[in-house]
Amino acid sequence: MTPVDLNQLLANIAQSDRAAFRQLYDATSAKLFAVLLRLLKDRHDAEDALQMVYIKIWQKAPSFGASNASAMAWLITITRNHAIDLIRARKPEAVPLETTQDPIDEALNPEQVALNTALGGELVTCLGELDAQHADAVRGAYVAGESYAELAERLAIPLNTVRTWLRRGLARLKVCMERA
């Protein structure tokens, strides 16, 4: 089975090709919907968000252009940023979470297990080389959409240093990925 060429579809969508848009939707909507469900934790919100995400995809397709970038990474970045806007709008980011329970514990563990068994890729290796807290923060931000305030709260890092702290981790991750 030939996988759908998402880059080609996006190039066609940039030319207002509706059939290509439909094909892209068929090929990617279940994945993007799952990402939205995971982040928004509400089916109704996720449905509305998916609608907006595809409108953005239609509008932004020309800016994806002829780049050799990964179409899926681009689609997921649009999806995640849209969801995160909605999350932040629900809950002002300046106010750290008051809950003391670990908000992403249950979401995270299956991920880690699955990552370690199924992927075994460079990312897993490199996340493994980071401080456990750095790796945890990267996953928390990406998978659960945690903000800096939430990461600071959960990992007990002062709010005014959490950004510098995480950037240090990201820099190490980058060095490791480039080496790999």
Binding site: A69, A73, A89, V138
Partner: protein, 243 residues
């Protein structure tokens, strides 16, 4: 115990910003500024793309979930479809005021494309929220179909012609109709499939939710009178989207 020397993320912070953008960690105002730069900065786009791919495996364990079957129809009707709802009458009467044409002719030739979509998304309290205006200009009879899009951060209206060509020796002219006012010409459209129309401050102020855009058939160089003289080939109402 000595720490490993801290690697720097490029010489500036752009790569760190790209990583934060992909992770969704940028505060909104920074993200808006970042996205604005992304438009013109290829290096920045490259950084975003590298980080997007680097972190993509984190989403690979999220099992796909099929969205409701009618969702595509909803998206399609938001972006493309034409509605026969009550606004049609309203827009029609506004056009009627300034358009000197037989009632039969108008009734036969106009097919109004109106976007009714209202996002139910939660609105952020801050004014930095990004919006866009979208209109679908259509006319079933003449088979001219044009999508119009303007982003709150840009001063350009982008028109994408999806079907229809100007007749030989004729031109398409774009009009803005705000309320019951006479149409304002936004100029003659260049012939390519994608046309960017720069917007003056005055026009930007007028271009809002509910404003109509229309395209008329005119002599090369545009209407000699400053008002539409030929057939209205496509018309649509502007809808605001919160992106």
């Amino acid at each position: 115990m000595a720490e490993t020397p801290m690697p720097s993320l490029n010489d500036n912070d752009d790569d760190a910003l790209a990583a934060e953008f992909v992770l969704g960690l940028l505060p909104r105002d920074e993200r808006v500024a970042f996205e604005k730069r992304l438009h013109d900065d290829q290096t920045l786009r490259r950084s975003v793309s590298v980080w997007g791919e680097t972190l993509l495996p984190l989403s690979s364990t999220i099992e796909p979930v099929s969205p409701p079957t009618d969702l595509y129809t909803r998206i399609e009707s938001t972006l493309f479809a034409v509605s026969r709802a009550s606004q049609t009458e309203n827009l029609f009467s506004r056009l009627w005021v300034w358009r000197t044409l037989s009632a039969a002719g108008v009734a036969a030739s106009l097919f109004l494309g109106i976007l009714l979509f209202q996002t139910t998304a939660v609105r952020a309290p801050d004014e930095l929220i990004r919006t866009a205006l979208l209109a679908q200009l259509e006319n079933e009879a003449a088979a001219l179909r044009v999508a119009a899009f303007v982003d709150s951060q840009s001063e350009t209206l982008v028109l994408t012609r999806q079907s229809g060509e100007a007749e030989a020796g004729r031109a398409f002219e774009l009009w803005l109709i705000a309320g019951d006012n006479a149409p304002i010409s936004l100029g003659v459209l260049a012939s390519g499939p994608r046309v960017e129309v720069p917007l003056s401050d005055d026009v930007q102020r007028l271009l809002a939710d509910g404003t109509a855009l229309a395209i008329s058939d005119e002599p090369l160089g545009g209407s000699p009178t400053g008002q539409p003289t030929g057939d209205i080939l496509a018309v649509g109402s502007v809808t605001q989207l919160n992106l």
